[in-house]
Amino acid sequence: MKLTADHLTAGYMKKPALREVSFALESGQVLCVLGPNGGGKSTLFRTLLGFLPPQSGAVCLDGKPLAGLSPARMAQYLSYIPQAHAPAFRYRVLDVVLMGRTCHLHALRCPGKTDEELAMRALRRLDIGYLAQRDYTELSGGERKLVLIARALCQQAQFMVMDEPTSDLDFAKSQLIYDVIQSLAADGYGVLLSTHAPDYPFRPQDQVLLLRRGRTVACGGSAEVLTAENLSAAYDTPMEILQMADSAGRTHRVCAVLGGAP
């Protein structure tokens, strides 16, 4: 399946926060939306998920526009992993994951045994089966993020949209989330994630969309997009790409902020 955004312009009132943004994402790929705060990442995701109607342009799945779909149909294609998440009530982890089944259930039905098995399978897929009976509100930020990813797995949608999945995590836990993202892509999911810091461990096959003030700076494979010029332009600060080899001999491309006035 292929998710495309076609000249998407969206925003609030008259001033669009997103102008003429296009991208294409195949299942099995990762698209990292990168850019400074206020770059239009959230607006893009809100528009993709149908929270915000586009002012022009369209979001399509295999060429068919998503706009007219019911929330239930939409949820069968796109799942969402929100950023900050503090529910008002103390749900069990298993109940949180089960809510991923909502779009597959008739309006008046409750999830049954099969749904519960799917939820447990999703938790085990992420190695957090032991959290099932815990109180969700007592989990750490990283655990919550994994539970929400499990909920998205349980939703069985081909594409996952993750809004700044690592913004509140330390770097070891960020890395773990990034590993999960790359293994989900290997399983065939299309993953869209946003981050304001370019710390995602980009692989050559990953896609990058670089946004600045709602406009596309560059879009395409990570090797072409992640250049010193593009990053410096997007963040308004001098940046460079450093190539480094670790002790095991693997090379890493690291985005470094040089600081100082441009």
Binding site: R46, A75, T102
Partner: protein, 343 residues
């Protein structure tokens, strides 16, 4: 996994399997006991041991008291408690706020105004009940319409609109009280506003039965979706429900329950706030478990409160006062606890 420590600790016992069926069974037994016991409570002494004899013994004054006076009152108390607790659970979820009660959309204040107007105009009791019901529904409808156009943050707009409607209705009720005849209309209004089941008879009960049944049916039918609604509009939508439509349906159900309760018993506060919290402590926030437990616990609670109200003193204590006296300290306790732990 990096954070696999304390894996086995903190398991939430309240949602363990088996707890739900035990709780439901216990509440069912409590409900039956409370209903049977309540027949023996009241000014006219009929000890519990004589109940079977009176019930089977054919026409007598005692039978008359039991069937014509106590039965409707017992049914009303249980139904109102169950309805307010169910409505409160639903409102708290859809407004994502555990401190919300069924009065939030101005249903009680609206109903109070309707009743006060009817009493001032010296309409008969059934008109008062009808007007209370209609004004209660109208207040909630106004709040909903005021907030309908808001795309996101609809719930906050609705709560604000509810506060405005409550203020307006209360002000107009105060004006009516000021203008009312201090000899008969004023005490009648005051008494109605305090909440009481003294005037409940079979007709009053039948009037409220249909909207109550409809309200229960709607909320119980959508019990699973209510959970999704507590996550907020955007997340609910991404999980596959239309948050505005789902909330509209829940508001209709909860408002029917509240209006049908208020028009029968006047303003009975705190049941709808307190019982959902207690129910959540017992079985957790999952609505499949919460609604039946809140429903039965609310029924038992209000029935026992009404028994105390009509038997503790020679003069009847207004039920609204009774529930507030028992409820307010609990509410304070809740506020102080809020900072430490959400319930």
């Amino acid at each position: 996994m990096i954070w696999k420590r304390n894996a086995s600790t903190c398991i939430d016992k309240s949602q363990a399997p088996g707890r739900m069926s035990r709780t439901v069974a216990l509440l069912a037994v409590l409900s039956i006991a409370a209903v049977l016991g309540s027949f023996a409570v009241g000014y006219y002494k009929i000890p519990l041991s004589r109940l079977p004899g009176v019930l089977l013994g054919g026409a007598s004054t005692e039978l008359d008291v039991l069937v014509r006076v106590r039965l409707p009152r017992i049914l009303a108390a249980y139904a109102i408690g169950a309805a307010l607790a169910t409505a409160g659970s639903a409102y708290q979820g859809m407004f994502k706020n555990p401190l919300v009660s069924p009065e939030i959309l101005g249903v009680s204040a609206g109903a109070g105004l309707g009743a006060a107007l009817s009493i001032t105009l010296e309409f008969p009791y059934y008109i008062t009940q009808t007007m209370a019901f209609v004004f209660g529904l109208a207040a909630a409808a106004l709040c909903y319409l005021a907030a309908r156009r808001v795309r996101f943050g609809q719930t906050v707009s609705m709560i604000l609109a509810g506060t405005m409607i409550q203020t307006l209705a209360t002000a107009m009720t105060t004006l009516l009280k000021y203008l009312a005849d201090p000899n008969d209309a004023l005490p009648a209004i005051t008494f109605w506003l305090m909440g009481s089941l003294t005037k409940v008879d079979m007709d009053a009960l039948l009037f409220s039965a249909a909207p109550m049944a409809a309200g229960f049916l709607i909320l119980f039918a959508m019990r699973y979706r209510l959970n999704v609604l507590t996550l907020g509009d955007e997340e609910a939508m991404s999980l596959g429900i239309d948050p505005r439509r789902t909330r509209a349906a829940a508001i209709v159900g909860a408002t029917l329950l509240s209006a049908a309760s208020v028009c029968m018993g006047g303003m009975i506060g705190f049941v709808g706030l307190m019982i959902p919290h207690i129910a959540r402590w017992i079985v957790g926030p999952q609505y499949r478990r919460l609604l039946p437990v809140a429903c039965m616990a609310g029924g038992c609670y209000l029935l026992v409160m009404d028994d105390i109200a009509r038997s503790a003193m020679t003069m009847e204590i207004p039920l609204g006062v009774m529930t507030a006296v028992a409820g307010a300290p609990f509410f304070l306790y809740l506020i102080t606890r809020q900072g430490v732990e959400r319930s």
